[in-house]
């Protein structure tokens, strides 16, 4: 019995099952939606026009064919898997004849960049500040903690709106929507990119940070009373060493686990933050797609998120021993 058979393969199998189940659920749910993509498209295509009844019927058929919505739901399901395994997510309904692949391809880098940056920064800063707060309890710490606890429940979009008002209206420094000039990786592009991404990033950072801070402080406080920290303290180890190698380092296991899983929660955050700041990422795309019952786009994005989160948690599971040598695979 090797590790591969005992642990890695079953874990990989689980990964596959999780993704298949997840995708099946997201395949079914939009199809229960009362919003009919054909009607939606019809309304879009014929707005302000008085159309012949015959033309309406003909258009409908045309749309059905275009969207690949013919056949029973089972047929559609298998066709969907066929396409998916061929790497094709089909056409968008809302933006026919665009391919979902292309649409996601365009939006993905923006969201990934934003998410990676804010998540990792939030994670690091949150842990540092939280650990400091655990290590130096006192008035200042309580103040910071108080602020964090207050910020924590404030909805994403409220923070986003406040930033929007303050930094685009009263102090009109940042652009109102994502403005990107120049070719990728040119100086101008980077400058405009940073300029446009700043506000959404800070919004996400703040909300992520407050949670991370609270968690890091709680874990740090618990760790402080552990035997090894107390012993090292008695032995007169310097504060920064204690904080870094004895407190923060030991809270990594739950923090890393949570980092993997929090990708899902953050995804929710980007959804609205992107909409508020006119940021061309997946969130805004998804929101529109849901409204238009654009199944293929909804599927494409949720699929991405499912695979992303499942993979993140797979990696987290597999890397536990690196994070905490005590962990045993069972």
């Amino acid at each position: 019995m090797t590790l591969l058979q005992q642990f890695i393969l079953p874990r990989l199998l689980q990964w596959v099952i999780v993704i298949v189940v997840g995708i099946t659920i997201t395949f079914l749910i939009p199809r229960l939606s009362p919003v009919n993509p054909i009607q939606q498209a019809l309304a879009r295509l014929t707005q302000f026009q008085a159309l012949e009844p015959e033309a309406v019927l003909q258009l409908k058929e045309q749309l059905m064919a275009n969207y690949g919505l013919e056949g029973s739901i089972v047929e559609q399901y298998f066709r969907f898997w066929g396409n998916l395994l061929g790497g094709d997510l089909g056409p968008s309904f809302g933006a026919f004849p665009q391919r979902v692949n292309d649409m996601i391809g365009r939006a993905l880098p923006f969201t990934v960049a934003l998410l990676t940056f804010t998540t990792i920064m939030g994670w690091i800063i949150g842990i540092i500040v939280g650990t400091l707060a655990a290590y130096y309890p006192g008035r200042l710490t309580n103040l910071v903690a108080g602020v964090m606890i207050v910020v924590y429940p404030v909805p994403y979009f409220i923070i986003a709106f406040i930033f929007l008002m303050v930094f685009t209206y009263y102090i009109p420094f940042f652009p109102l929507i994502g403005v990107f000039r120049g070719e990728p990786f040119e100086a101008e592009f980077i400058a405009t990119y940073l300029h446009s991404t700043f506000l959404p990033a800070v919004t996400l950072l703040i909300t992520g940070l407050s949670f991370r801070f609270i968690m890091a402080r709680a874990l740090g406080t618990a760790e402080l009373s552990s035997d090894h920290v107390q012993y090292a303290t008695m032995a007169g180890l310097p504060d920064n060493r204690l904080m870094y190698s004895y407190v923060a380092r030991n809270t990594m296991l739950p923090q890393v686990t949570d980092l993997g899983l929090s990708m899902g929660a953050i995804f929710s955050g980007t959804l609205i933050t992107e909409a508020v700041f006119g940021y061309p990422g997946l969130g805004d795309l998804l929101l529109q797609a849901i409204y238009q019952a654009d199944y293929n786009v909804v599927m494409g994005i949720t699929l991405l998120s499912i695979v992303g989160i499942a993979t993140a948690s797979l990696i987290v599971d597999l890397s536990y021993p690196l994070v905490d040598p005590r962990v045993r695979y069972r």
């Binding site: 009607q39 302000f48 026009q49 008085a50 012949e52 009844p53 015959e54 933006a95 009109p172 529109q288």
Partner: protein, 613 residues
């Protein structure tokens, strides 16, 4: 302060206008194909034969500047084209282009996302070039409205460049990015994320219909940027920051705050009620006749109408900025003349009597517009010199809850000590009204109705639904009452194209899609009188006086039955910031409408004058 604009064009050459949605199809300008997304672009890049202006009801010149000529029995239509237009590559526009366009659409269903293919397939016998600028259409049966296919209000059949397209193999998937175009502008840059699109003026503006209309060799800004900032708040901020020259619409409150911060901003009227009031549509309260029995009682519907205080609705809820209408015909100057102020209609409405428990009752109240004017005075608003009716629309139904109560009681409804109404079956009289909050005025109409009916003693629940949910609901008949928008007539006064879908032959029971047979209405109304009128209109030319009479009859019958409760015309805070560009359409400059994203928007854009950087 860094510029928030995504393009590097000198501001004095650039006109920035609010893009009405985020483009999801990128770099595809094939408006005939399935990628179809026309707003802004059709005004900037394309031409139809004619343009029907909703402000004036006039036909304005496009690729043709003469009305179509039909033969006597409406089986042949002849079109004369303008001879001075050129495609942007210098090639002259001529009859070949029109014939090619019609034949291509006729033969290619995939290139017919305005529904023209079906129309041609239905009516067209042949299309022939007579000479370089004359084309004759032979029809397989009388079709007095065949020219409507070429006449744009929002959209019409756009001309294709025969010399270029005939070279293209797969026209359906052709993205048409490099021209040639017949309009004044050509796209030069597009945001890959669909938030904006930059257009550049042609080198030969004198060869376009727009500049010829304006009799200006070099009309219009050098560049036009359409850009989507987002909701009202963001649009107002953008305009305050000087990064937006025109926007489509904002909320009343946002507009007021803009006026305070940006003195150069201006909508249709320079003073109250500011907003552009003449878009061809109106807000109403709709019943679902199929699923809820009580809606089928005319008296109940009238009782509901009489228990609404239209003045309060228009002032308190809409802010006084839309015109009141008692039927689903917007109160544009042209339509007011054809309907509200037409002697036949006027006489009819003033003497209209309904039966209230056996007693005749005159429900019409002609003082509504004046009372709104008084209210505006009270608020201290300066108002335009026009008559109150021109600003505030028609009369409406009396606010008479006693009569409404009588109507209900006559039908077996009862009221308890608290003033709450109960149905003849003894249940609380309650229903819901659905509306989409982002359709601001509709939602506020629903809001007002719910409030007032609650005050009257009916338990009305207001449901604000996300737009797509709301529309899915009415499409499948999942509503009791709701607040949509529509007009029974076109800007020129014709009624048939809109009214015909109420023909009972299109009736589909809920919960099937209301348009499962192509036509049909969400209200699922069946009325033989309407059927007769619709059938009669079909063979009449729109401008035929008999047609107008039939439309009048239709409207009268409609009102007498109070099938829908119409409330106010459409209004939009189309707003121009005269910081870089001036001379937009307005109440003082009302030769055409200001909805720049419509096909006719090219006149507005072409008429702009630079104020320098």
């Amino acid at each position: 302060q860094p510029s928030g604009l995504p393009v590097d064009v000198p501001r004095e050459e650039l006109f920035v206008m609010d893009q009405i949605f985020r483009w999801s199809v990128i770099d595809n300008y094939n408006v005939w194909g399935p990628a179809s997304g026309t707003p802004h672009r059709h005004a900037l890049m394309f031409e139809t034969l004619w343009y029907l202006d909703q402000e004036t009801g006039n036909i304005m010149s496009g690729a043709s500047n003469e009305p179509p000529v039909y033969n006597d029995d409406y089986t042949q239509m002849t079109v004369t084209l303008v001879d001075s237009l050129k495609w942007s590559d210098g090639e002259a526009f001529n009859a070949d282009d029109l014939v090619y366009t019609v034949e291509t659409v006729w033969n290619t269903p995939e290139l017919s996302f305005g529904g023209w293919h079906a129309q041609f397939a239905d009516f067209l016998e042949s299309v022939e070039k007579v000479d370089d600028h004359t084309v004759t259409f032979t029809l397989n049966r009388p079709a007095p409205r065949f020219h409507k296919n070429f006449e744009a209000r929002w959209a019409g059949l756009y001309m294709m460049p025969e010399h270029a397209f005939s070279q293209i193999e797969d026209l359906v998937n052709y993205t048409y990015q490099d021209g040639p175009y017949l309009g004044l502008y050509a796209p030069v840059e597009m945001d890959p994320n669909g938030f904006w699109n930059l257009f550049k003026k042609r080198d030969d503006p004198q060869n376009t219909a727009v500049c010829q209309y304006h009799m200006n060799e070099d009309c219009g800004p050098g560049y036009v940027l359409t850009i989507l900032y987002g909701d009202s708040t963001k649009k107002v901020i953008a305009m305050t920051r000087g990064e937006l020259d025109a926007f489509m619409n904002v909320d009343f409150e946002a507009f007021e705050s803009l006026l305070a911060s940006t003195p150069t901003a201006k909508s249709w009227y320079p003073e109250f009620p500011w907003a552009y009031p003449n878009e061809t549509s109106s807000r109403l309260i709709r019943f679902n006749f199929d699923t809820h029995e009580w809606t089928n009682n005319k008296d109940v519907r009238w009782a509901l109408a009489l228990s609404l205080d239209i003045v309060q609705l228009q002032t308190e809820y809409i802010g006084g900025v839309a015109k009141v209408v008692y039927v689903n015909v917007p109160y544009t100057p042209k339509l007011a003349e054809l309907y509200y102020n037409h002697p036949r209609m006027q006489e009819w409405v003033e003497n209209l009597e309904i039966d209230v428990a056996g007693e005749p009752y005159k429900p019409y109240d002609g003082t509504v517009a004046d009372r709104i004017g008084e209210w505006a005075d009270e608020q201290g608003y300066a108002q335009p010199a026009e008559t109150a009716a021109a600003s505030y629309g028609s009369g409406w139904w009396k606010y008479d809850t006693d009569t409404a109560a009588k109507l209900l009681e006559h039908n077996g409804y009862t009221r308890d000590g608290n003033g709450d109404w109960f149905t003849p079956e003894g249940e609380r009289f309650s229903f819901s009204i659905q509306a989409a909050p982002d359709e601001v005025d509709s939602f506020r109409v629903a809001n007002a109705a719910a409030d007032m009916w609650n005050d009257f003693g009916i338990d009305v629940e207001l449901q604000g639904l996300e737009r797509s949910v709301w529309s899915a609901n009415f499409e499948t008949g999942q509503f009791e009452t709701d607040a949509p928008w529509l007009s029974f007539v076109l800007p020129d006064g014709d009624g048939w194209p809109q009214m015909r879908s109420y023909h009972s032959k299109y009736y589909v029971p809920a919960p099937e899609l209301h348009n499962a047979l192509g036509g049909g209405t969400p209200a699922r109304l069946v009325d033989p009188v309407l059927d007769e009128l619709i059938d009669a209109m079909e063979s009449l030319h729109p401008q035929d006086p008999q047609n107008l009479e039939l439309v009048h009859q239709y409207l009268q019958h409609w009102v007498e039955n109070m099938y829908y409760i119409s409330t106010v015309s459409f209004k939009k805070f189309v707003t121009w910031n005269e910081l870089y560009w001036t001379n937009p359409p307005s109440a003082e400059n009302d030769v055409y409408m200001p909805l720049y994203w419509f096909q006719g928007g090219r006149f507005s854009i072409g008429g702009l004058e630079s104020l320098g950087g």
